[in-house]
């Protein structure tokens, strides 16, 4: 029974709970037991909230018992990346500087998730301030990939991806600035959805790069991702960059027709450095899409190669300003024994931030400095405009674009830690979409060397329904999403 529960899709769990075939409390307990057993191996969570989970589950059961209506995610055990503020629950952003920070307010995305009935399991690990592609930049510990405990889960939403892939949580929230939802989803063999910039409120999301940050969903099926998106998306007056639209009804669109959809395959994404296994799996995936009746055609997005450098100017520039508030004055880590104000600032930040954060703050500060602003920040903004325009033009001819999500499968822990440039290349296929603010999803498209490969589908702004319909059709046609890591390896099975 238990085994049956923890890998069930969220939408199935919600339906069974709603029909009272299983209690929300039982679902929560099963997941908490599994979490307790596997967490020492995976280290996906920074903070777990078992009491809150059981309490929320009991509330769902009580409501059902009274015959009251419950939300679409009632009883679904969910995890949340630890850069989304949760009222009364420590929120660290994976940083020493916020190690003991307990927010006095709830982020819009999580508030909506709980209102839909989801059960809060805890806060997942991430690269410090979401800066990284392996979750090794967490100030606390690295998270391991459920498919191979010697490998990284990707990042920065590595904890969320690992938790969902391992069946600790039925769904999770992450955040995607340059690929931080899609890339770990690809490396962990789950679905990772980055919505259109502005579709999900950023209120309560600890900012990394405000013009790029977007809350995303990690789930095991496309339908689950659609369900969670519907719960958290839609205009929020607390976020001035939030799109003036309601939540998209993607779920009902999932079963629609994909025949005749025009699928573009940009050749610039088939990089030299693309792993052979990835190349093969994604090529097979595109054949599958063609077999479903999509009209596949190669296309070109010539400015793609400038996306990564532009991203590594713009994101650090915004980060250098966003992270300036961690000064030790009002909250967060304050160094003791400082001789004066400036010394307090310097010591607190030196002790509170990790190497990658410092690197990006310095990069960004430099890019914004007088005398360099035009050459770096302004130039990068121009590149961003070009890339956005290029996508716009492509979407005049295509409904959806298909690319690999990550150039490689999960890499060994420690392999890229000492080589930031190599680490940055992990984002090369996801960053252009971020600069253009487009919706994109990574869906599992098979294994290479026993490790998951992700297919990235990209759609025009606010076309999430079409995007997820294509992803769902692919999922249904292949069943790659049913592959499971060998975590339970007989020992844990009953």
């Amino acid at each position: 029974m238990e085994e049956g529960l923890w890998y069930l899709p969220a939408y199935v769990l919600a339906a069974r709970v709603a029909r009272r075939e299983v209690s929300a409390a039982e679902v929560a307990e099963v997941h908490l037991r599994r979490l307790e057993r596997l967490e020492p191996l995976l280290q996906a969570f920074i903070t777990t909230t078992p009491e809150a989970a059981l309490e929320a589950a009991r509330r769902v059961d009580l409501a059902l018992g009274r015959g009251d209506p419950v939300g679409p995610l009632a009883g679904v055990p969910a995890a949340v990346k630890d850069n989304l503020c949760t009222l009364g629950v420590r929120t660290t952003a994976g940083s020493r500087i916020l190690e003991r920070f307990v927010p006095p307010y709830e982020s819009t995305a999580t508030a909506r998730l709980w209102r839909a009935g989801a059960v809060p399991l805890g806060k997942t690990n991430l690269d410090e301030f979401a800066m990284g592609s392996s979750t090794e930049n967490s100030a606390f510990f690295p998270t391991r990939n459920p498919w191979d405990l010697g490998r990284v889960p990707g990042g920065s939403s590595g904890g969320s991806a690992a938790a969902v892939a391992a069946g600790l949580a039925a769904a999770a929230l992450g955040s995607d600035t340059g690929g931080s939802v899609r890339q770990p989803a690809a490396l962990c063999g789950v679905v990772g959805l980055k919505p259109t910039y502005g579709l999900v409120s950023r209120f309560g999301l600890i900012a990394f790069a405000s013009s790029l940050d977007q809350v995303g969903v990690i789930a095991r099926t496309v339908r689950d991702a659609a369900l969670v998106l519907a719960a958290i998306a839609g205009h929020d007056p607390l976020d001035s960059t939030s799109a003036p639209v309601g939540p998209p009804d993607c779920e009902s669109a999932l079963d629609g027709e994909v025949e005749g959809l025009r699928l573009g395959v940009p050749r610039e994404y088939w990089l030299e450095g693309l792993e052979e296994g990835v190349r093969r799996k994604v090529a097979e995936a595109i054949e599958v899409l063609a077999s479903l009746g999509m009209k596949v055609e190669e296309c070109s997005l010539p400015h793609t190669e400038y996306a990564l450098p532009a991203y590594y100017i713009l994101a650090p520039a915004e980060a250098s300003s966003n992270l300036a508030r961690y000064d030790g004055v009002r909250y967060g880590h304050r160094a003791s024994g400082a001789s004066d104000l400036n010394d307090m600032y310097c010591r607190s930040r030196r002790e509170g931030f990790g190497a990658e954060v410092k690197r990006r703050v310095m990069l960004g500060t430099y890019a914004l400095s007088s005398g360099y602003y035009d050459a770096y920040y302004l130039k990068a903004q121009k590149v961003r405009t070009l890339i956005r325009r290029e996508f716009e033009q492509a979407f005049e001819r295509f409904d959806v674009l298909a690319t690999p999500t990550s150039p490689t499968t999960a890499f060994p822990l420690g392999e890229r830690v000492a080589d930031p440039l190599k680490m940055y290349l992990s984002d090369v296929l996801t960053v252009p979409v971020s600069l253009a603010g487009l919706p994109a999803v990574s869906v599992p498209c098979g294994l290479s060397g026993g490790l998951p490969v992700g297919l990235q589908l990209i759609a025009p702004p606010l076309a999430e329904a079409r995007l997820l319909r294509a992803a769902s059709a692919f999922e249904q046609a292949t069943g790659h999403h049913r592959a499971r890591p060998a975590l339970d390896g007989g020992v844990d099975r009953r």
């Binding site: 920070f101 006095p104 307010y105 982020s107 950023r202 607390l238 001035s240 960059t241 508030r325 000064d327």
Partner: protein, 497 residues
Amino acid sequence: MTSEFEPVIGLEVHVELSTRTKAFCGCPATFGAPPNTQVCPVCLGLPGSLPVLNLKAVEYAIRAALALGCQVARVCKFDRKNYFYPDLPKSYQISQYDLPLATGGAVEFLTPGGRKRVGIRRLHLEEDTGKLLHEGVESGSLVDFNRCGVPLLEIVSEPELASPEDARLYLTALRSLIQFTGVSDCRMERGSLRCDANVSLRPRGSREWGALVEVKNMNSFRSVKAALEFEVSRQARVLSAGGRVARETRHWDEARGVTFPSRSKEEAHDYRYFPEPDLPPLRIEPEWVEEIRAGLPELPEARRRRLVSGLGLPEYNAWVLTSSPALARLFDETLRLYPDPREVSNWVMGDVLRVLNARRLELEESKLTAEGLAGMLRLIDRGLISGRAAKALLEALVVDGGEPARLVEELGLTQVSDPAALAGVVREVVAQNPSTVADYLSGKEKALTFLMGQVMKRTSGRANPEVAARLLRDAMAGEGRAGSGAGPDSGGEAGGR
């Protein structure tokens, strides 16, 4: 020394807008609450918080911009000004850099040499910082974030002010304009109006300006003038001695009456401005601007025209009477109750302002009403109080307020006009000042003034001056007939003081 050089001054004025809530969050923007009681995650810069623009602040800014004759932008945007300071929770201030809300207006003011007009370069919206508190703190400082996020208007003049006095007059006229629009109370002592200045000098006739010096920390209209006067003569001294003026920021030390250079670290700021990604560009529809323009109240210039051509007041009076909306309102309402423009104008510009200044009160803080002032003027007309008693009454009307006739009773200010009641005092004064009486009798008419003063002193100013003077003359004439005999017409200097 200054005459070899001519100064040029530009002012950068910050005005706190009196919106109900802050610029980017819902916290109250009111002044004077206990520290850190008007704060929230947004204005404290907590992780994950986001700004939401208060459109009322934009409306107020547009109102001020229109009153200054500025061109309101169709599109403007917000930028981040990055620097570290404990009163700045996000370590950046949301401000406007290259696309301000409005540009290109002007402020006029009256100088003894006639009207002057100084251009407004730009006007933009930004957020205020918190305040550091040092009082009662043994070590370190405390921070009060109540003020943090209150909407601020920055108004930058062209560098066209020719003297410290012009700077003061500009500032007065600017404050009046803003106050008339009702978007700020512009109280310098509360910090709702703040002023920094840029000062540079050039030799007369030269086209090259010297280095620009920024002067900060001027906390009153008086200190603006004093600081600028100090700074102009300081620079002139440096230049006359063949030195070079350093480009720097200097702080005004009110107590010592000098400006001194601030630490160089503060100046080395590179604010790294960049567009605020949390706020989309602000589009301002022309229809909205026109709607705001239509709702503007009567501005000082229109009012001055009314006072000069409608009521026949001198232009100088019109400027003084429009120097604040409260003063203008007091004049208007008093005039309605006591329709003598000259008389009302004289009292408002003279004694009312003198009493307020002496007590360092704003008119709004005083108890003076139009009813009180008009009532006082009627009491004078009816001979019930003397001019001297009226000044005492005005003090009472300003400080305590109340009904003039009753105050006169309570303070014992009623004028004594009955000759029988004054006869005794007059007799005493004449008897006790024989030499002054002699002076008077020898033709020194001014000796009477001294004797009148004595009568007023002994009656606490209540004696009707006309009656008292007549009685004094009569009494001294009697003395004269009784004693020696020089006629009253023989002239000569007044004696007796």
